[in-house]
Subunit: 546 residues, 2 copies
């Protein structure tokens, strides 16, 4: 075990809060049969054994009885603060039912199940990791559990270790796969339950049943700390525009939450840009006009938040990328020498996509045309959107200056935050929420459930009043086209333009753009006054009308 | 006033701790006459009125008496956490001597004094900014106070406002200029005192008299929070090498302190690289060999800390830059078309510098040859050293792989931290230290001192035991060549290779390189247990043998 920081030592003693109902023996309250959110007949046909099950809530006043079983746990996909607390909650929950119960962790993600790499948790190991960030206790990985062969390899080791239930911590895809696995084991009558757990800092795994995915709270608070610090610097030096890109490729929840916390001058929301069919030029116009208006009163500084996935939401660029992928995939294209590639691309693009291509700064255009991933696809993630935008804004301002529409100085700084927050020590909210999710999973297992996600609701109330239970994963599914095939998936939650968080932001952004209304959230606090330490995100509060 | 975060609201109530001696009326204890650290005769001749004054300490047990005077304050140069607390400490100190005393702040740096732009502080304004980060209360600026005309313009407004003393908060240059101003006003018998205050996150304003500059504590703790989070991610995902550049161009104190706090696999120290006359290739060799050794046991991940100023400390690059600046400054060079510039440069460089030039990756070489600042100089600060190094390491690893000396995967992520920490809300240490520096300045003024820096010593002890006093600025001076002229300056503190912090680091780094010994400091805490909230930096503890 490595040396520990003072914070880590002190924080180890924190006892996460549990919902009242989970503190003693629980009584299982079952609701009515459920349906999937879409394609009911198809989903039912795909999941005959795990479809239609009721939503479950745990209430106080159950009969205490010993329940003996072993459990396995897997961390799947990108890191999120609180993963270690799901594990410690599950461990404590399982041990409370019978101290002889064992909890195993599969190493480096789902691959550990298939390859039979695992560790057995004990008090010492768990105590080392209570309330810490990261997934390093067992590591994570991106292997997808999708094939029967994997399921059967998994069953071998689960049987060998006497594991009655597997808990999979992951995002939408991993939970979909958890359900496929649950269905397979149920169909085969292997007697192995599978429970999912909603994780992702991106915040896009939420719906009527799931209020928030774990890690979103801590990650956005960490990014907001940094954005607030930069805003304060910006407002002190009064000479830079800071362009700040934030992780999250498929939805803009992170950027939106950070904007609600820090009130920047500009925050782009990919979902809005797509809905309004905006072009890159429209976005540049929008930012440049704010820069110019602020400059009129001598404010040659500001902050701009940019969601990582922006570029793929711009309809024109999306079309360009799609045609580029097709154009560059041919054998002919692959045979063209690198120095002639751009000419080749230009000669082959359709007129409308060529116009988009030509509107891009030269180096971005060549990056799109030249750099490809092993599958031959354009590498969108390599594009430094924050620099692309600031350069295009700078160019626009030059034109505006020549036209007498802009008087000011423009100087930009660039930032990208992602890895800085994914493994932060969980906030009190995430520490409690994750511990509860894990503890709750042990109760779902004891209740014999499979194909369920561990769910904690009423999370804007104090933890004691949280509602613990389970939701059939099939209930959140519909069919979507993936790689050309219709597949059952959990619907990804994008930012809803008629939802309360976005509407609040939209009602304020003009004021924030021209005024300087920065808010400085500061660093996550674990011991201070409750209003500092125990607040959920602005997103969840607005969604719950608080 | 803008909306406040919960942390800001709660933190406003924090009462910074003062040294015991400053809590009541003080007694001034004067030491012996002092000398400058170098060039005594020259410094004495330049500062006849402010040379040789004694070091001053304040002791308890003075006679309480009303002291009436107005004071002005200026924030000079880059932001550092705690500036607002220097001001609130000074305000409280000045008001305690006579509630009728006034404190004025000059706006946007020294320029505000020259241009007569100022604000008068009152309780409401000060209370808005207690214990907050940033310099936004009055803004900062980089105007240098060096000309008699500026001094006289300053005197006009100081006289008009009845200001008896001016406090200048700044780094080594600003404090040097504060002393020049003190000397000028003393020579002219204007009756205006000038007091300096040691600020810089870079940590390079320290010596036998100054234990640390304010802001270094908070900034390095903020960077260490982020580095620790990245290390945790690194150790969870186990697939990336993170190259992290840290602000601080003229010294590597920040990188060293962060390394002591987080135990990364590699931390480069510019001062060592210069002392050992290492080349860029040597550095790349060093990193690549650690990557390769870690890869042997399957650890294809790690963290590398890089001080911002690195490139200028590498002797070969320093020479190349110097020749480039000369080569490109000629009228002939300026007349060469951009596309022929690189050829031109290559034709004109000396053989040894040409070799260095050719060893650089193409885009870095063209950046050096093509991008120049308004003075025609190479723009070293534009070079993304973190990317330069990771690309050169990648290239080296390819060669090593071909030679059978490396088996592994190398994938890099890049970060640069600077603005993220310069305006963080001050740690308890910086909040106390800065408040004490400001309060102490009021006592130096009351004691009639000028040309002194406000100094607080014994800072590894609890605040009550800190020693408050003043040090003649001339005592820290020597002559150094600046822009071709010998000038009196405060000697800049570089990392000392025989100092305790570096020696500790050097004794551990091999272990940290090959093992994975990361420490995760977490975010700055204001309310937790004292061992979490009240620790000074590792640098200062090691320097004091703690």
């Amino acid at each position: 075990m490595s040396e520990k920081s003072q914070l880590q030592i002190a924080r180890a003693a924190y006892q996460p809060k549990l919902p009242k109902a989970l503190k003693g023996a629980v009584r299982t309250v079952e609701g009515k049969a459920t349906q999937s959110v879409g394609n009911q007949e198809d989903i039912k046909a795909l999941f005959p054994n795990t479809y239609g099950m009721p939503v479950v809530e745990f209430a106080e006043g159950g009969k205490a009885e010993r329940k003996s079983f072993n459990v396995g746990i897997i961390l799947s996909g990108g890191q999120a603060p609180g993963g270690h607390n799901v594990i410690s909650g599950l461990y404590d929950g399982v041990k409370a039912l019978d101290p002889a119960n064992k909890l195993y962790g599969f190493l480096m993600g789902p691959g550990g199940l298939v390859d039979h790499k695992y560790v057995e948790f004990n008090d010492k190991l768990i105590d080392e990791y209570r309330n810490t960030g990261g997934f390093d206790i067992i590591g994570s990985g991106r292997t997808k559990l999708e094939e029967v062969e994997q399921f059967e390899k998994g069953r071998e080791i689960l049987d060998k270790l006497g594991i009655k239930a597997l808990v999979i911590i992951g995002g939408d895809d991993s939970n979909t796969n958890a359900c496929v696995l649950a269905e397979y084991y149920a169909a085969k009558k292997y007697g192995i339950q599978v429970i999912g757990c909603p994780k992702t800092i991106d915040g896009d795994l939420k719906n009527d049943q799931i209020e928030t995915s774990f890690g979103f709270d801590t990650a956005t608070k960490t990014y907001s700390e940094l954005i607030g610090n930069i805003e304060r610097d910006c407002n002190s030096a009064r000479k830079y525009w800071h362009f700040i890109k934030l992780m999250g490729r498929s939805a803009s929840h992170i950027a939106l939450e950070c904007a609600l916390q820090t009130q920047p001058n500009v925050c782009l929301i990919s979902e809005e840009i797509e809905a309004k069919s905006q072009s890159l030029d429209d976005i540049v116009d929008y930012i440049a006009s704010i820069v110019a208006t602020r400059a009129q009163k001598g404010d040659n500084f500001g902050t701009v938040l940019i969601p990582e996935g922006l570029i793929e939401f711009i309809p024109a660029i999306k079309k360009l990328i799609s045609e580029l992928n097709d154009t560059l995939a041919t054998d002919e294209a692959k045979s063209i020498a690198r120095e002639n590639q751009i000419e080749y691309v230009k000669a082959h693009l359709s007129a409308v996509n060529l116009a988009t291509f030509n509107s891009l700064p030269e180096d971005v255009a060549s990056q799109l045309a030249l750099d490809r991933d092993p599958h031959g696809n354009v590498q969108v993630s390599l594009i430094e959107t924050e620099k692309l935008l600031s350069r295009m804004v700078e160019r626009r301002l030059k034109t505006m200056k020549a036209e007498g529409k802009y008087v000011g100085k423009f100087s930009a700084q660039h930032h990208f935050f992602g890895y800085e927050g994914r493994c932060a020590a969980p906030s009190n909210f995430d520490a409690d929420y994750c511990y509860s999710l894990g503890y709750n999973a042990s109760r779902l297992i004891a209740a014999g459930k499979t194909g369920y996600m561990s769910v904690i609701k009423n999370t804007t109330a104090p933890a004691a009043e949280w509602i613990a239970g389970g939701v059939p994963i099939t209930m959140m599914m519909n069919l979507e086209r993936r790689n050309g095939k219709m597949k059952p998936v959990i619907r990804k939650a994008l930012v809803e333009l008629d939802g309360a968080p976005f509407r609040y932001f939209a009602s304020k952004r003009e004021k924030w753009a021209l005024g300087t209304e920065y808010v400085y959230p500061g660093s996550i606090q674990y011991w201070g006054p409750s209003e500092v330490c125990d607040q959920p995100t602005a997103t969840i509060k607005l969604e719950h009308g608080k």
